[in-house]
């Protein structure tokens, strides 16, 4: 390496570097134990890529390399005082410049042969420091012993002390000669010395300065220059002595033309993080012009304090995830407290899932006249019915989870409640306009001389009073959204086994959901008649014409079960509950376990996962009942039970991976489901990635079978209809990536082929005229990315997708209409001034052939400028033209300006 460097320096010295030189003023002397600081000033206009300093004890053959640190105009090399020797120090500097030239000091033919020299004086003795007996230096040889820990001169915490050095670069060491001394005490026997590494973890160490010395010799008995260094041990501090902060401010302004509409958006973001020793504070703020009082908020603000990983408190907007059955990443505005003591954890979340929205910003967005409900009173005066709409209730969330984590087990219980506040939406609102038209009134084609037009509530009231009419405007039970109430209770349990390589976990949950809480909680009397019509003190009791209780009645004593009013704060029980009875009492008597497991409002899973060196597997059974609801995770699919088994084998040092997965899914949770829809999914994949700069291959195969359990045709009226489904979808994917070079250009060629085909397994047994509607498709795409020796990159992409859409003709025959898309894209980027300015550009082409042929041409370009350290500006623009058989015109266009400052 050194030889190459010398040759490079010699070569570069042949080239005149006009005006470039290194200025270095040698210090007069150095002293052992005192750091030697050597400054050098480069006098050049050319950017410096790398600056190195080299030093050695005089007489040694090898140099130690240090990276110079820039301090203003100076570049500094600091040699630890403990590494100096009375023999003196030889040193030189080497700078690599951006134009490929090298500057060296001293400016001689070979600075390594003719380095600077500085004399070194013996160590000052203050009488307090312990004097270490020095070995004989005269016959020692220098060796590159690398100090791993602690760094010389560093200050470390009592808890983090480990003394380690590497003899990786030292050859022929006699291991038996190695001696490790800490503050003069020989600790060699307590140290681990193996494979060229010396590691020692002291049990106790006093605070203050510590000195380490390693002595060793070669196999032929020559002493190696001892390595000595010192460091400071400090006490643990409770004072936040270190304060760090960082963050970013971003502003964005964009204007897009879509059709004939301009969409202008501006946004301002601030993110900041402050770290002190025991706390971490994060602040996020976003203000956007898209914020709209008629929709859910888009502005964001949050304040997050994390104390030593044990307590995490969040205020404002946050996205917590407890589990899929309660809250799973949905935004909450409120407070979250997470106390995690490792063996015990409490998570509490209180906040708002939806903010109240009074109306939509459009005509009939708050009120609407129910024309078909117009009536007259006994004096033939009109009664107009008005309704509220376009509103959203404030939805409040409360969630608490307790969990224990002991030994290899964990156990958790949780409770979640989400409820709409019926008082958060006002009956009378300002600014709401609704349309009044006699055509809407079904009672009479006249509005009693009320002119057609747009009215506010007050304007309509005045108009109605003029015709001696009245307005019927209910205070609740509007036709818009109904207020909901929802609770979820659950538990989870888990265990790790086989030295943490295998994990079992189980979770069970049950929900209660009320679809309409306008009328609040039911009384005992309402409870009595919830399942039958008789107020008789018995629930679900039916009578025959003679007044005798019919067979099959449950006869539950109304007074024997809980009073719904007592639990109103937990859950509002009334006739709109789902389920009305969580457990089927009849089925419970015969099959209690099965009844509990298959409760329509329960959700649970069992999962066993293994994580071994070459093998990772998961076996899972999951069931979510048809009536399980969590308002905090409304996207959870219910009415599904599934069994999954998957395995990933890693072979050839993770270069070859085999994936297998089988999943069975159906909706037969309730015994009443006679014809469940069954889905079987089998997939197999091979990924072979030999390593960087070699071709890689991916092959995936997937088979999806669907069967709706129907065996016979159905009769609809007089006609037999075939509703049976038994289909198979085969999805295959192949990808190859081939990196190659042409001259000094590096390329990456990628080819993807994806095919999807469907087969009707009952094709030979269909009624005449049956139409199998599934479409086959095929996609082929290729991309060539090229990296040039210039700071230029380009990507060229071509792809074609074709879909065969089946069409049934009037005579019942089937033909296929092919829809195809062909796209060509190219993009490139070029950097100037050492990446301070970057220009990007791209062209795109998309052509569609089918029923409505269309062609889109587009281009985009952008520039990115590094204005200051940490401040960047971006300006991008795009334009897309659209050509159809009839016309050619602008499809979309837009510009975006963004300014970002990182601090």
């Amino acid at each position: 390496m050194k030889r190459i460097l010398i040759i490079t320096i010699l070569f570069n010295l042949l080239h005149p570097i006009s005006g470039s030189t290194l200025f270095h003023e040698q210090p007069f002397e150095a002293r052992i134990g005192e750091d030697l600081v050597l400054d050098v000033i480069p006098i050049t206009d050319i950017d410096i890529l790398e600056a190195k300093g080299y030093y050695r004890i005089k007489g040694n053959l090898s140099y130690q390399e240090l990276t110079l640190v820039q301090t203003g105009a100076n570049w500094r090399m600091q040699i630890n005082g403990s590494l100096l020797s009375e023999k003196g120090i030889e040193y030189c500097f080497v700078f690599n410049l951006a134009n490929g030239a090298i500057l060296a000091a001293p400016e001689v033919e070979n600075p390594f042969d003719q380095p600077f020299f500085i004399a070194v004086k013996p160590k000052k003795s203050n009488g307090q420091e312990k004097v270490i007996e020095k070995p004989v230096f005269n016959e020692s040889i220098y060796a590159d012993v690398l100090i791993l820990s602690p760094d010389p001169g560093s200050e470390i915490d009592k808890r983090d002390i480990i003394i380690a050095a590497s003899l990786f670069n030292v050859s022929n060491v006699d291991s038996s000669s190695i001696r490790l001394r800490v503050n003069g005490n020989d600790v060699t026997k307590k140290a681990e010395i193996s494979g060229g590494i010396i590691a020692y973890t002291p049990e106790k160490m006093a605070t203050g300065k510590q000195t380490v010395e390693i002595t060793l010799s070669t196999l032929d008995g020559k002493n190696i220059t001892p390595v000595r260094w010192s460091f400071n041990v400090r006490k643990g501090s409770i004072i936040p002595s270190q304060f760090k902060y960082d963050g970013a401010m971003t502003t964005k302004i964009s204007s897009d033309l879509v059709g004939d509409q301009f969409l202008n958006i501006s946004e301002f973001n601030v993110k900041a993080r402050v770290e002190v020793e025991y706390a971490n504070i994060r602040i996020n703020y976003r203000n956007t012009s898209r914020e709209n009082p008629y929709k859910q908020p888009l502005n964001r603000s949050s304040f997050n304090v994390n104390f030593m990983k044990y307590l995490n408190v969040k205020f404002g907007d946050f996205y917590e995830s407890i589990n899929p059955y309660t809250l799973d990443g949905r935004r909450v505005r409120g407070v979250s407290v997470d106390l995690d003591l490792r063996f015990f954890r409490v998570q509490v979340i209180r906040g708002q899932l939806n903010r109240p929205v009074q109306r939509l910003n459009k005509i009939d967005g708050g009120y609407s006249l129910l024309g078909n409900k117009t009536t007259i009173d006994s004096l033939v005066r009109p009664i107009f019915t008005l309704d509220r709409k376009g509103y959203t209730f404030e939805r409040e969330l409360a969630l608490t989870r307790f969990s224990l984590n002991l030994f290899n087990y964990h156990f958790g219980v949780y409770f979640m409640k989400a409820i709409d506040d019926i008082n958060s939406v006002d009956q009378f609102i300002s600014g709401a306009i609704f349309f009044v038209d006699s055509a809407d009134v079904t009672y009479n084609d006249s509005l009693y001389n009320i002119p057609i037009g747009k009215y506010s509530y007050d304007e309509f009231l005045t108009a109605v009073e003029k015709v001696n009419g009245t307005i019927l405007f209910p205070t609740k039970h509007w036709n818009g959204y109904k207020p909901h109430d929802n609770i979820v209770v659950g538990l989870d349990f888990g265990r790790v086994m086989d030295k943490n390589r295998m994990k079992f976990d189980f979770s069970w949950n049950m929900s209660l959901f009320n679809r309409d809480i306008w009328d609040g909680v039911m009384t005992r009397a309402q409870l009595d008649t919830a399942l039958d019509d008789s107020l008789d003190g018995l629930i679900a009791t039916m009578y025959d014409d003679d007044g005798k209780i019919t067979e099959g009645s449950l006869n539950i004593d109304t007074m024997s079960i809980l009073n719904p009013s007592d639990y109103e704060q937990i859950f509002i029980m009334n006739i709109n509950m789902l389920p009305l009875l969580p457990i089927d009492p009849v089925s419970f008597e015969t099959n209690p376990i099965s009844t509990i497991i298959n409760m329509p409002s329960s959700a649970f899973h069992f999962r066993l996962s293994g994580n071994y060196r070459y093998n990772k597997f998961t076996i899972q059974y999951r069931q979510i009942g048809p009536e399980f609801v969590s308002l905090a995770n409304p996207y959870l699919t219910n009415n599904v039970r599934e069994f999954t088994i998957s395995d990933r084998l890693s072979l050839l040092d993770n270069k070859l991976m085999l994936n297998v997965m089988y999943r069975y899914q159906d909706d037969k949770i309730l015994a009443t489901v006679k014809e469940p829809l069954k889905t079987k999914n089998l997939s197999f994949g091979i990924t072979f990635i030999p390593g960087p700069n070699t071709p890689s291959y991916v092959i995936n195969f997937q088979s999806i079978g669907k069967n709706n359990s129907q065996d016979e045709f159905e009769r609809v009226g007089d006609e037999l209809v075939d509703f049976r489904e038994d289909s198979k979808t085969i999805n295959t994917f192949f990808s190859i990536t081939y990196p190659f070079s042409t001259g000094r250009l590096k390329h990456n060629l990628n080819l993807n082929v994806n095919s999807l085909s469907n087969e009707d397994m009952l094709a030979g047994d269909r009624l005449k005229g049956y139409f199998f509607q599934k479409s086959d498709s095929k996609t082929i795409s290729t991309a060539l990315s090229t990296k040039y020796t210039l700071p230029l990159r380009s990507v060229f992409n071509v792809s074609r997708t074709a879909i065969q859409v089946p069409i049934q003709n009037d005579d019942g025959s089937i033909t296929f209409n092919e829809l195809s898309w062909t796209s060509v894209n190219t993009k490139g980027s070029y950097s100037f001034w050492n990446n301070r300015l970057k220009v990007t550009g791209g062209l795109s082409y998309l052509s569609n052939k089918g029923t409505t042929p269309i062609t889109l041409f587009g281009f985009n370009s952008g520039v990115e400028i590094n204005i200051l350290n940490g401040m960047k500006a971006f300006l991008t623009g795009h334009m897309q033209m659209r050509r159809t058989e009839k016309e050619t015109g602008l499809n979309t266009s837009g510009v975006l300006f963004s300014l970002r400052y990182n601090f």
Binding site: S237, Q242, T250, R342
Partner: protein, 227 residues
């Protein structure tokens, strides 16, 4: 034919003996906190990892929910910090004067602080991506379900998606993402996304310094040592 037979026997013997050979020592742990376990190459099962443990080529390290470990390669002091809920395999091939280093990471978060005077190659490989290190300091976050995130702190790192072959250079202040669909994207780093480094921010001192002004204007400094 006889030669082929000997070669075949030799090959089989080599395969059988290879696992018995001691793996080369390449790194040493300098900090371990929380639950951290190691499956030493050649051994079956995980055991507790301690500070000062010498790591060999092929050792697997797993951190628990509160686990954190720092280790240093012995040729150039390149430092790897492994955060909680992470699984890695430490790899390194000793060559003359350097160690060709590789970290295989299946899931989790790590920070690589590669010494500026680095020796040998340095590669971080996940099931989705390969990060070939040209720079000095970066975070890598691996999620088997979504892909990889590489946050450049200093220098330059080449991030290559193994499924598509697409690659990008990630510089300081930039974030590269490599997804399961084969795409590779580059964007400005959101400071909020940078993981906390439990090993940074160690206190520099243990004293509180309070300046007191006397009645005649003289300044006196009160130093309080924290025990």
């Amino acid at each position: 034919m006889k030669i082929l037979k000997h070669i075949f026997i030799g090959f089989i013997i080599t395969l059988l003996i290879a696992p018995l050979q001691s793996a080369s020592k390449i790194a040493v742990t300098t900090k371990v906190s929380g639950k951290v376990s190691i499956e030493a190459v050649g051994n079956s099962g995980f055991s507790k990892l301690k500070t000062g443990t010498i790591l060999s080529d092929g050792d697997r390290i797993k951190t628990g929910a509160d686990g954190f470990v720092v280790f240093i390669y012995i040729d150039d002091k390149s430092m790897i910090k492994v955060k909680e809920k992470t699984e890695i395999m430490v790899k390194g091939t000793r060559t003359t004067g350097s160690i060709s280093k590789q970290i295989n990471i299946d899931i989790g978060t790590l920070r690589a602080q590669v010494n500026k005077q680095r020796k040998g190659d340095f590669v971080v490989q996940s099931p989705t991506s390969v990060a070939s290190v040209k720079g000095t300091d970066f975070w890598m976050i691996i999620n088997p379900d979504f892909g990889d995130i590489l946050i450049g702190l200093e220098g330059l790192v080449n991030l290559t998606n193994l499924l598509s072959g697409e690659s990008t250079d990630v510089g300081a202040g930039m974030t590269g993402t490599s997804s399961m669909d084969g795409s590779v994207d580059l964007s400005e780093t959101n400071p909020d996304d940078i993981p906390d480094d439990p090993d940074s921010g160690s206190p520099a001192g243990t004293q509180i310094e309070i300046e007191l002004e006397g009645p005649d204007g003289e300044i006196k400094t009160l130093l309080i040592d924290i025990q």
